[in-house]
Amino acid sequence: MSSNVYFKHEGPWSDANDPLLCSDTGDWRTKRPVVDEENCIVCGFCAIYCPIQVVQMKGETHFEADLDFCKGCGICAKECPKNAISMVSEGEFVK
């Protein structure tokens, strides 16, 4: 992407040169977005409206959320014009 200029600075309790730490927000989720790849028309609405910006294009064929950080708010599913995203209970994925 384009060049980004970061201001080298120290924050209250971190160093700008340190890698960013990320909280495990994927753990908050009770439902996860599951994309129906066949139905996805690759419009990108899910990506622009996701508050944490974790929905990304996968190989030009569909969009997919990064489940490590997706909070499960359901906005992507609601805004999808093709209803290609369903929110599925996390319980379904427990083995």
Binding site: S2, F7, W13, A16, L21, S23, G26, G44, I52, K78
Partner: protein
């Protein structure tokens, strides 16, 4: 296999030219409008901005108190009482030092409309060269949902509860954006998250216009936690706020108002209020009061845009 249908990618993606400087997992509630706004701004305006802000829902992330999961931007934390005064100092310093920089003073409505309004108005009057963005979640959310000057009529908050002595807020909300536009600053605008293309254009315009002086952006950003709304409804709430004229989208250069989106047949404000529990105690009469207020505000806005076009503002000549 048949080739599947593809739509055109939304043009909003073209505005996202820069990296998202925020860590992926940060402490905002699921569906928080503020989070989308915060991540959107640097992706559109670039990462070469300095954000200043106050104690609020944005502060835990902007100040990195959330287990160091924060962002790579420069940030300067200030008090609620002096947000715009601090930004003034920063902007003046950069100007004096000859550093090309964009100072973004980013605050909630509690700071912008109430506690820090005096110095916000002062900075606008002095035409200080920075961008002030108010994210409007219609209350003091971080301290537990107290009412602010922009909380609408009928809304329940912890300081305007529903009970024997109180039926939610019984005062109208103030129109902060209009008030700022009336300072005749180079640029003032309203925006919201359902219309991201419009928001992106206004952000870029503000970045350009700040060369001329003070820019103010009022962004309607729902708070599902404080409003009692489903997290997945955040964008729909914004959309309906626009479609009911509850939150009209406009911009004003030197006070000259221009609607950036006009709604042909505005929906009743009830189609907006029904999405949130904070309005659930409102009866027909209350809805009429809120509807009348929305209509009145919109009428004034329309009237002003016509008047401003007719009456020329005598501007000092450019040097």
């Amino acid at each position: 296999m048949t080739e599947k249908k593809k739509a055109k990618l939304t043009p909003v993606l073209d505005y996202l030219k820069h990296e998202d400087p925020f860590a992926k997992g940060v402490a905002f509630c699921p569906g928080c409008g503020l989070e989308l706004l915060l991540r959107f701004i640097p992706q559109v305006m670039g990462n070469d901005i300095v954000i200043t802000g106050t104690p609020s829902c944005s502060a835990p992330v902007l100040l990195g108190q959330n287990n160091q999961s924060w962002h790579k931007l420069s940030y300067f934390g200030t008090l609620m009482t002096g947000a715009a005064a601090n930004a003034t100092g920063l902007a003046r310093y950069y100007k004096k030092a000859g550093i090309d920089n964009t100072v973004v003073c980013f605050n909630g409505d509690g700071t912008a409309a109430d506690i820090g309004f005096g110095n916000l108005s002062g900075a606008a009057e002095r035409n200080e060269p920075f961008i002030y963005i108010c994210y409007d979640n219609e209350g003091y959310m971080n301290t537990g949902v107290q009412k602010s000057g922009t909380t609408p009529y009928g809304a329940t908050t912890t300081t305007t509860p529903f009970g024997a002595a109180s039926k939610g807020k019984n005062l109208r909300r103030m129109n902060l954006a209009l008030k700022m536009a009336m300072h005749k600053i180079p640029y003032a605008a309203t925006a919201t998250l359902s219309d991201l293309g419009d928001l992106a254009k206004k952000l870029l315009k503000a970045k350009e216009m700040k060369e001329k002086g003070f820019c103010f952006l009022h962004v309607f950003a729902p708070c599902p936690t404080g409003w009692g709304a489903a997290p997945d409804n955040t964008i729909e709430i914004c959309r309906r706020a626009v479609k009911t004229n509850y939150f009209p989208l406009w911009e004003a250069e030197n006070g000259k108002i221009r609607m950036t989106k006009t709604i042909k047949k505005p929906k009743p404000v009830k189609t907006y209020t029904e999405l949130m529990k904070k309005f659930k105690f409102m009866d027909e009469e209350d809805h009429k009061i809120l509807q009348d207020d929305v209509d009145y505000e919109y009428c004034i806005l329309g009237g002003l845009s016509v008047l401003e076009a007719e009456c020329q503002l005598p501007l000092p000549a450019d040097e």
